[in-house]
Symmetry: C2
DNA sequence: ACCTCACATTACATCGTTGTAAAACGGGGC
DNA sequence: GCCCCGTTTTACAACGATGTAATGTGAGGT
């Protein structure tokens, strides 16, 4: 049987509450009793029962992190940082996968209410109206990434501006027929919409007419689907000058296809990505991308979340994280 | 305020215990009362408090998954599968990162004891003696991956055999000076030791003398460190025939370095990895690797874990998951 | 009408921790 | 020696759900 405060108290010759006081350190405890208690804790190898603590004071010390798909390098890096930052601050992290299913996104919020979870960091894909219900009797939520409506506190990168800048950067290397990979036809993910918007803004600024045939749709943002989408596209379309993939993962799939087809990057076509995942640096050729500080995102998300827990009523806030265009070999001129 | 069983009971005109009976479905409840209760639950938007439930019946429905580093594609894929399989079975998953620090590995086990966690799936790196203490008053544990001692239930791939087979496969393409990347000089991770052993066994079988200068050490198994290790190595050593990297991640780093040096893969040197991460398929050139079913590993780990929870005393078990050598372009002859 | 028996429901206690409010303690001043 | 006051410790109750054991209900048999 596991030792409880009672056992420790008996052994130390004090009351249970005193043991609790020693552990929590809010109520002052005299040096001598503190020592006795600490001794007893060690001897009995006592560990507090977090369920009981959670029941008693209404918070569990656990937050949930919900991502579309953990196997995605981008999600994995985000998860890594959130877990690490959370741990520094004494939080545990429960991971949930939404599979980019909006039903699941909402279900999570309601599940979180069953406690054991003090807050939720959600990387939504198609959230939108499905979860407008946020706010009422739901746990504190911070959204991570693009959303089309302001539903809750949120941390993001201005991907309209980033996509615009990347498009401009590609144009600056002399490319004119710039295709994008990852536009959405069915499920309009906020990220796809915003990045497409940035791309169009850049073309407008350059005085280039938008050519719809340069919008290569790709519903799932994985190397596999990207590779397939690009291969199919190239079957019946001329090769563009440049290819701006809406994520690095897709870019990696694209590089693979281009290599198999004997198309040289960056000589025949420039390729750029978005997210700056670790592997992009080691892609062949190394990948030009939109980079931003994921650890900072994690830190800010956690900050917003803890502040929200302290004050459920405050105004909704948005943190915009800086980005930069990182030029690597895949777009050399 | 959140509704409790009491509120639901009052509204449905029954006792709290009856509400509990309806929810848990073990004790029979008549149709009419069940309906009343379900109605009340809906009206009040009642969600059970898991902390209270956990306190009362000693299990929280949460398991922990501890990995060295979530940002690693291999870890991420494992996590993805564990989370998905666990979710299917109604478990939640708490993620912990060990940073391959044995102290942290042990700390986790003791933390797990504070409940909120019914079991632990641990991917150890240097566990060994540090956690021999498993078993006594610790939560049910399943180890995932290589270990040097049999400490607990465990799921693994026979990486001695796999490394041997991969080495033989490289030899079969006519390579003789086969280097390995990822041997350990400082912290002897079990995986490094076992894979090196398989490599040596293969050379023995082929009648090739072991050439120590073909063992390229690399403590951390990331593309970055691998790239650095390989670049440094090639500065002062002749190019081997083939390079067997102990993980795909390292292989990706290696491919990047080779490409930058203008060394052609597979013409000048064959490159192989281990783990079959998704990106290996899209590497340039696509990566030959040791493949195994990660979802099966997750499923088996969870099976062992739940069985262990049911029977803390049973014999320790080992599940060995099959592997296969997947030939791709990086080793074409 | 009465008793039995199976089945449905209930009251109560309990899980381990901690906030509240009250009690015990101890030191200093008169 | 006594009282007062600040500090430390304590008893008790409560968080919410559920197992135990006891109570209540009704149908069926005689």
């Amino acid at each position: 049987m596991r030792a409880t405060v009672k056992d420790v108290a008996r052994r130390a010759g004090v009351s249970p509450k005193t043991v609790s006081n020693v552990m929590n350190g809010v109520v002052p405890v005299s040096g001598s009793t503190r020592l006795k208690v600490e001794q007893a804790i060690l001897e009995l190898d006592y560990v507090p029962n977090l369920s009981a603590r959670g029941l008693r004071n209404g918070r569990s010390g656990v937050i949930a992190l919900a991502l579309p798909d953990l196997a995605t390098p981008y999600s994995a890096e985000i998860a890594h940082h959130v877990v690490e930052v959370a741990h520094e601050q004494g939080w545990s992290v429960q991971i949930e996968e939404t599979g980019s299913d909006p039903r699941r996104e909402y279900e999570l919020m309601s599940r979180a209410r069953s406690n054991l979870i003090d807050g939720l960091i959600l990387n939504p894909v198609v959230l939108d109206e499905s979860a407008v219900k946020v706010g009422v009797s739901l746990p504190p939520v911070v959204l991570l990434g693009e959303v089309s409506q302001q539903l809750a506190d949120r941390v993001w990168v201005d991907s309209v501006a980033a996509a615009r800048d990347m498009t401009l950067a590609l144009a600056r290397t002399g490319r004119r027929r710039i295709a994008v990979l990852g536009t959405a036809e069915v499920r309009h993910s906020a990220a796809a919409v915003l990045r497409t918007r940035g791309y169009q803004a850049a073309l407008d600024g350059l005085g280039i007419d938008l050519d719809d045939s340069l919008l290569i749709p790709c519903e799932k943002w994985t190397p596999q689907t990207a590779a397939h989408a690009l291969a199919t596209y190239l079957d019946s379309n001329p090769l563009p000058d440049a290819l701006f993939c809406f994520t690095d993962s897709m870019a990696i799939g694209a590089l693979s296809v281009l290599w198999k087809l004997g198309i040289k990057v960056p000589e025949d076509i420039a390729v750029a990505g978005f997210d700056d995942i670790a592997d992009g640096q080691y892609a062949v050729p190394s990948l030009t991308t939109v980079s931003f500080d994921k650890r900072l995102m994690a830190r800010e998300a956690l900050r917003l979340l803890t502040e929200r827990m302290a004050d459920r009523a405050g105004e909704q806030r948005v943190v915009t994280v800086d980005y930069s265009i990182v030029q690597r070999n895949s777009t050399a001129s």
